[in-house]
Symmetry: none
Amino acid sequence: MKVIFIIIDGLGDRPVPELGNKTPLEAALTPNMDFLVKEGICGMMSPLGLGFTPESGPAHFEIFGYHPFQEFYPKRGPIEALGAGFKLKDKDIALRINFACLSNGKIIDRRAGRIKNVKIFEKDLSFCLENVNFILKAGTEHRAALILRGENLSSEISNNDIHKIGVKPKKIVPLEKSEQAKFTAKILNQYLEKTHKILKNHSENKKRRNKGLFEANYLLFRGGGRYKKVISFKEKYELKSCCIAGTGLYKGFGKFLGMDLINVKGATGGKDTDVKAKFIAAQSNLKKYDFIFVHLKAPDLFGHDGDFLGKKNFIEKIDKNIPLLRALKNKGDVLLVITGDHSTPCSIKDHSGDPVPILFSGKTVRKDSNSKFGERSCAKGGLGRIQGWQVMPQILNLIGKQKIVE
Amino acid sequence: MKVIFIIIDGLGDRPVPELGNKTPLEAALTPNMDFLVKEGICGMMSPLGLGFTPESGPAHFEIFGYHPFQEFYPKRGPIEALGAGFKLKDKDIALRINFACLSNGKIIDRRAGRIKNVKIFEKDLSFCLENVNFILKAGTEHRAALILRGENLSSEISNNDIHKIGVKPKKIVPLEKSEQAKFTAKILNQYLEKTHKILKNHSENKKRRNKGLFEANYLLFRGGGRYKKVISFKEKYELKSCCIAGTGLYKGFGKFLGMDLINVKGATGGKDTDVKAKFIAAQSNLKKYDFIFVHLKAPDLFGHDGDFLGKKNFIEKIDKNIPLLRALKNKGDVLLVITGDHSTPCSIKDHSGDPVPILFSGKTVRKDSNSKFGERSCAKGGLGRIQGWQVMPQILNLIGKQKIVE
């Protein structure tokens, strides 16, 4: 039995008065996912436990059975760098970058107007400073990764991104007393100054200025971490797996776990992503792989923007393409699992600690009597309440690959 | 968003045949709490996990996110001493005291007929023995704290209170082989003998004898512990908090966590406590504090006495005063949380490991379809089953103060 595992980023939400106090998922017309619920078992999942609010990185690690807090979590930087297609070496330090817009000394936009791509800046922002190689790798939209390769480096340094606008950017400070942390913070501050000058005078930003767009003239750092190889998904679960994702973080996550990346044309990681193309890619790779991880980022983006209608509509778009996968399920031995990595309520425009619905649909499940994929219907589901780490054991159980504990 | 957190001590119960197999909470008319359920989300909470039966102390610590068994738990003595208004110093040993009635060498009442107050005995029972200062501080009713201040003391000593009547009181014995534990047990036995003599001949007990009341002539010890300061609630959660409680233990718990104590006239900690006065105090302190902890002891007392009608009636009394708080919730940004610290079934007259109902009511919750505050209705609630330690993360999540795990 094979697995198609769909994570809809930021799926969960809170009641929206304009939607008749339904959540975007509840308000969406989702006949196909509802049918999967009818044929399946559902419940509510809290990635890190009820109330705890994760970034997508730790949430995904936990859901895939890599316990970021008990075991090793590389932080976001290295994952983002892998996702941007960079081959990390052991000991590399990597940071997640937002291209932002600084004006009169203050951050006025954290995403430089969601600039389409920052590849144009890669070369100019990659150089050597005090014997450390700074390598900038563009990701999707305003996202990039910065890799520091050299000696005497530490990942124990602060972020300069405080997720706020209208404020001065923070200086990078060491988070521990080591010489390495002091040195890393110092050269990162130098790098920030230098790159700000380069970006201000960059031809691309002159163009953006003329068009009245936010300039991409400042780098916001977070998630600094050191790369270290971990046990692969294949070794851990004996499942040959691939990753279908548009956004760098999730591609990087897949790579980190040793999954094959399936590149899909039109999978932008943005709101315009081609859901159908992703599902077709899942379909056509089912022969080759035991476990197909499909990631859909857009609902989280709509949540962060407070756009509940956009979120609802995108969920409907996902639903329209579900029959592509259901056909597979009906034909062969496929377990379909759909959930989110966390809630991103439109009312707060940020992640929350509210649980997300989860459904398991396949011939081995104990079907419950639910018939709607939604936060409050799944709360009554036959699966009950689970935490992120419980998802993989349940998948292994349903596909008959769970080893018996003797 | 601010929080009013009401803990109804011993709220949970088991079906009572005389109440048509409803629990006291289920049998009570609670239109106002039911309305909060309608406007909120509910579930069942097991402070320490299903089946585990806590005293109120550990239950409160766990619910407030201080894990008594993984981290530090001072035991009941030091909490009771703080609640009685005593300023503990580091290294002090404190014990919880019940004034009891001994007759013909046997305990015939564990609460000396629920004597109204034991302040009259404070001075006579505070003295020095083998270079250790014994200080007795009266609490509410039959309760007191005994503080031992000196060198070579240990908290590893047994209780002499075995929660039974008709038995001889136990000797205090050391619970470890250290000289300190042996010494502490020895001087406590001396103290017991001495104080029994003092109490027998005390004018107050002569009066009680003449009135046919149980004498307060013997001290029952439990919960011996050593005081140590812990991280305050304010530091832990960045919430300015106060505690509205009548009983010493809960005042002490509040003090232990660094909460401001709000003294309310008529808040006796007994069955006659003025619920309305407490809720008015909560109301008037809402401007000054982010988090208001209101404790109501009486339902637990009724449970211990097996008085299911008393318990039901007291719950109705609480309910009548709920509109005072609901008005606040409707006006401003208030999250109302109501639960118990454990069950105290009238049928067993003691604590049990049955879960207690919990409700969260406020604008950020995913309202479920429940409309009754009761054990079996909340078991169907949208929140599902949670443990004590999950309450605070969920509160922080709902008021938007949960830090994102990166």
